[in-house]
């Protein structure tokens, strides 16, 4: 019988058009045996949370290079709470200044991966935080 697969939504909220990082991560997670729902550029927080709900993902991976993370991430977390997506983990990639990291983690972001992160680290992090019953 088919085993349970880790499902990950990869989304790029905000207005910057740089999706190379998101695509590299999507590909790496695919090669690690995960099912990646790739939603593309310029997603609003509402679109991301709606997609996460319908796709019943284990993880939302956000790629933000615009510097708008302190506005976008709290909004996404708030919407997740409103839709009872409490067991869905949020992983953030992109450019995040050091001083924001503890604040974001405090809000509930499970992992933050800046430029130069090894995709293997991201894979291991996701495998660790997603408990497959």
């Amino acid at each position: 019988m088919a085993e349970r697969k880790i499902r990950v939504l990869i989304a790029k909220p905000g207005l910057d058009g740089h999706d190379r990082g998101a695509k590299v991560v999507a590909r790496a997670l695919r090669d690690a045996g995960m099912e990646v729902i790739y939603t593309g550029l310029r997603q609003t927080p509402e679109m991301i949370v709606e997609a996460a709900l319908q796709e019943d993902v284990d993880v939302i991976g956000l790629s933000i290079l615009s510097g708008a993370h302190m506005a976008l991430v709290p909004r996404i977390l708030e919407l997740m709470k409103a839709h009872n997506l409490n067991d869905v983990k949020v992983v953030l990639g992109g450019i995040v200044p050091d001083e924001d990291i503890p604040i974001l983690k405090q809000m509930g972001v499970s992992g933050i991966f800046g430029p130069g992160s090894d995709t293997q680290q991201i894979i291991e992090h996701i495998r660790k935080v997603v408990s497959l019953e």
């Binding site: 697969k5 690690a32 995960m34 729902i37 790739y38 939603t39 609003t44 679109m47 709606e50």
Partner: protein, 340 residues
Amino acid sequence: MSEAATLPPIVAAIRESRRALARLLTRIENNAAAAELAALYSFGGNAHLIGVTGAPGTGKSSLVNSMAKAYRAESKTVGILAVDPSSPFSGGAVLGDRIRMRDLHGDSGVFIRSMATRGYPGGIARTTIDMARALDAAGFDIVLIETAGAGQSEVEIASIAQTTIVVEAPGLGDDVQAIKAGILEIADILVVNKADRPGAESTVRALRAMLDLGRRAERVMHHGELMSIAAVPSGGEDSAWQTPIVQTIATNGTGVAELLTKIAEHRAYLQASGTQRLRERASLSAEIAERLRDLLLMRLIEQVGAAHLQAIVERVVARQIDPSSAAAQLLAESLQERRP
């Protein structure tokens, strides 16, 4: 009297909550919803199941997007299953069909679910049919099933969908002939998408010629492997339905209204001619046979034991016994064990 009171809890839940529906779809995909599927089965049968298939890059996702928008304009609710392939190496997948469906965001009358083929051949997954049944039972008027990009032999969708749409695009060159020869036979409606591109007219002409040639063969197919309908009345299936060719430009909605009209006509034809019943009976009996095969195989392997099975495999590898005799021996052993 309240209808909700008579519904099984799972049916009430998925009609009430999108989260409950999403969760159920996951359990179905992971083969952990047998009891729920049993409970919801008799609450389906109302949705029109429409399959959309075709080669990669013909614009299936964009077409599904604009079809869903057009159905919403008619106040019909739409469930979408979008299938993409799993990697044969890692088992992972990148499911990208939602990229083209962003127009549908924020509409509570639409539910989109992406799924991977998980090693099943034919452009869909083993569980796609049950996922479609769940969307049907959840009350969607229309269920659109977009297959993974299909080539010649990915015709599984025809056993699930009531109306199968095969999407072509101009400019695929001569190799389009090969694709058509394989997949054309399952089309209830042919769409030439990207109709504003050069070559659209010649693609339509080529398809029309192909349809005229293929009409005789088409009926043979139904007695063959694809649709072995036991009792086709003389002059029955397909004598009345002429596969139409619709030109669309999915990205701006051109031709989509006509496509929806053709789909409605096909549905009316299916019901009036009795073809729907015949097709359903044929695909359900095939499905029961497949499930029975799976169950028997599982039980048999359980009975003979993994170790013994492995020992037989080793003997086959060593060419002491051939695969067919090995299977016969395993079956004989399991039948003997069952006797007291």
